[in-house]
């Protein structure tokens, strides 16, 4: 019974961590789907979001929700600017060039951030108080409730945008075949820009939620979650939105279980081991379809 109790508790922790990965992975998968770029800088965008949320709560004294919204908007704009300045000039360059540029942007954000906010970790203020809910003996704290609520709202909103609006239709068309979409009158530059906006603001939301959840943020916090969110995106099938969510949650749960039952030092190794297994067994991911290579 004790083992079972601990298992459920770890599952709850895993799902909340996984929701955060899912939010970051959504941005990854959207951006990859549309311009076939592993945006290494995505994890650092998430870090910027966390810091903006932090300054919103501490320096501006805002409640958590307005701070979250402002952080999402500003970070979204940052994502658009990064795309305009760093990736757009290389739209027709070899893939490796853009990948290296993305690594460069990632370093730039990390260390410029470090220059301005110093490398010392900051303590995120306790915005939820000490609320926790006891559901049949399992403890769910206020932070976790906030994470679940925000994640579900944002995912519903994203689904609405992608499935029901004209922009969403254009995004789907462009990710299916950018050139054909352009011939049909889709302004692909604008669509790519908006994809970066949406993806980056989701990452910002994840950043603020992580700050609330773990109480601590630092300029290099984005590296590992960024890579793991990529793992989540690959696990679910890159370019597929529900895949990113499922992948993120599976990854979060596996990590929580490894940390809870084995050793927390193997957490990061578990994520990469999953990645390699997925790539070897089913590179298109859980939800992906196999595509044939054309010469």
């Amino acid at each position: 019974m004790d083992f079972f109790h601990q298992l459920i508790q770890q599952l709850i922790n895993g799902v909340s961590l996984g929701s955060i990965y899912a939010l970051i992975a959504l941005g990854y998968t959207m951006i990859y789907g549309i311009i076939k770029l592993i945006n290494f800088a995505h994890g650092d965008i998430y870090m910027v979001g966390a810091y903006l949320g932090f300054f919103g709560v501490t320096a501006a004294g805002l409640p958590i929700l307005p701070a979250l919204l402002i952080s999402m908007f500003v970070t979204g704009c940052l994502g658009m600017v990064v795309e305009k300045l760093a990736y757009k000039p290389l739209r027709h360059a070899p893939r490796i060039s853009i990948l290296i540029t993305a690594i460069g942007v990632s370093f730039f954000l990390e260390y410029t951030g470090m220059y301005f906010v110093t490398p010392t970790p900051r303590t995120f203020p306790d915005v939820m108080g000490n609320i926790s809910f006891d559901v049949a003996g399992f403890i769910i704290n206020g932070q976790q409730v906030l994470i679940f609520a925000i994640t579900i709202i944002l995912m519903a909103l994203l689904t609405y945008i992608v499935q029901k609006t004209k922009l969403g239709k254009a995004m789907r068309a462009a990710s299916f075949d950018t050139e054909t979409a352009q011939l049909m009158g889709v302004d692909s530059d604008k669509v790519i820009s908006m994809t970066f906006f949406i993806g980056s603001s989701l990452a910002a939301a994840a950043g603020v939620l992580v700050g609330v959840y773990y109480n601590t943020i630092d300029p290099l916090m984005g590296i590992m979650p960024g890579l793991k969110a990529f793992v989540a995106a690959v696990l679910g099938g890159i370019g597929i939105l529900p895949g990113a969510v499922v992948g993120g949650i599976i990854l979060g749960v596996i990590e929580a279980l490894v940390a809870g039952f084995l050793s927390s030092t193997f957490r990061d190794a578990a994520a990469f081991a999953i990645l390699i297994l997925v790539l070897l067994v089913k590179p298109s991911g859980l939800f992906g379809k196999n595509t044939n290579e054309k010469v």
Partner: protein, 319 residues
């Protein structure tokens, strides 16, 4: 002796002169201990950059886990010298064999992947290697391995570097190397022309990993302590920057890249953030304006005046 061999000989003589000059300055104490350390690091980084270039530049397989193989070489090397009292040369060979074997085992399945996926998979593998080492108590775990004898000196690193350069150069100019370049240019076309792509990709990856292992062994015996944190993917990125800066597919480029990057790191050692911001901007601007790197596919021996000079020297000295 054909002319290629003569030119090799000329380069070897040039290398010996360079060695004599630097060694002379070290023993005359013109070069202080800080720059002496950096010269050793430059040589180690040249080995790393050239071996990574064989994988990334010549074979076109984007690997981001090179520091992992360096870690294997370093740890195997220190266990060999400290726990088994073997000489440095045996430690380096063992490190190279272990790193190469691991490269072979890892390369076989992962090199089926392409481009971005391979990049992330190798990055992940490099991290897994590091985390596994971190959990082995026998080699000190996360705290690192202490009490390593200082066996590396300029002579060791310089001649190992020279050996690496000649090995990789000859490999690239052989039929195996041409097969690797064909894979870089177009994998499907290479396969259609009868190149066994898996074999050559794994071969390049294994050789690259083995030399990274040698570099790791040299690196470890320079310091009293090594820890898994010296081999994170950030250091893999560092070697990648050297290769990209110098030119993917140019040995001269990798030497230049390793030299420039190590030199800048040393000069900006007291401003770590500024250093990384400069790296980042340099990387982005390089991709905008000169994506092929400083040298592109060019080698220093291809420049007309140097070629002439080398021919002249080898003409006089040969046979």
């Amino acid at each position: 002796m054909n002319s290629i061999r003569k030119r090799d000989l000329a380069m070897l003589i040039f290398g010996l002169i360079l060695y004599g000059a630097i060694q002379g300055m070290i023993s005359e104490k013109i070069i202080g201990s800080f720059w002496q350390l950096n010269i050793i690091l430059i040589c180690v980084n040249v080995i790393m950059a050239v071996s990574l270039n064989l994988i990334n530049g010549y074979t076109g397989q984007f690997s981001l886990g090179h520091a992992g193989f360096m870690a294997v070489g370093a740890y195997v090397g220190v266990v060999a010298t400290v726990n088994f009292q073997l000489p440095l040369i045996a430690a380096l060979i063992l490190g190279a064999l272990c790193a190469g074997a691991l490269g072979f085992l890892i390369g076989l399945p992962t090199l089926r992947l392409r481009g971005d996926y391979l990049a992330i998979a190798t990055l992940g593998l490099g991290e897994i290697i590091r985390i596994v080492i971190m959990n082995i108590e026998y080699v000190g775990g996360a705290a690192g391995f202490k009490g390593i004898p200082h066996l590396t000196n300029f002579t060791w690193v310089f001649f190992t570097m020279l050996f690496t350069l000649f090995f990789i150069k000859n490999f690239v100019n052989s039929s195996h190397g041409r097969a690797c370049i064909a894979i870089r240019e177009n994998e499907i076309a290479a396969e259609a022309m009868g190149v066994n792509t898996t074999k050559y990709k794994v071969m390049a990856f294994t050789i690259g990993a083995a030399f990274a292992g040698i570099a790791g062994g040299l690196f470890a015996h320079q310091f009293y302590l090594i820890s898994p944190n010296s081999f994170t993917f950030l250091s893999s990125f560092n070697y990648l920057i050297m290769v990209v800066l110098g030119g993917m597919g140019s040995i001269t480029g990798s030497i230049a890249g390793a030299f420039v990057v190590t030199f800048i790191s040393a000069a900006l050692a007291s401003f770590p953030e500024a250093r990384m911001i400069i790296y980042a901007l340099a990387l982005i601007l390089l991709m905008f304006y000169r994506p092929q790197g400083l040298f592109g596919y060019m080698e220093v021996t291809n420049f007309a005046p140097i070629k002439k000079l080398l021919d002249k020297i080898s003409g006089n000295k040969g046979v």
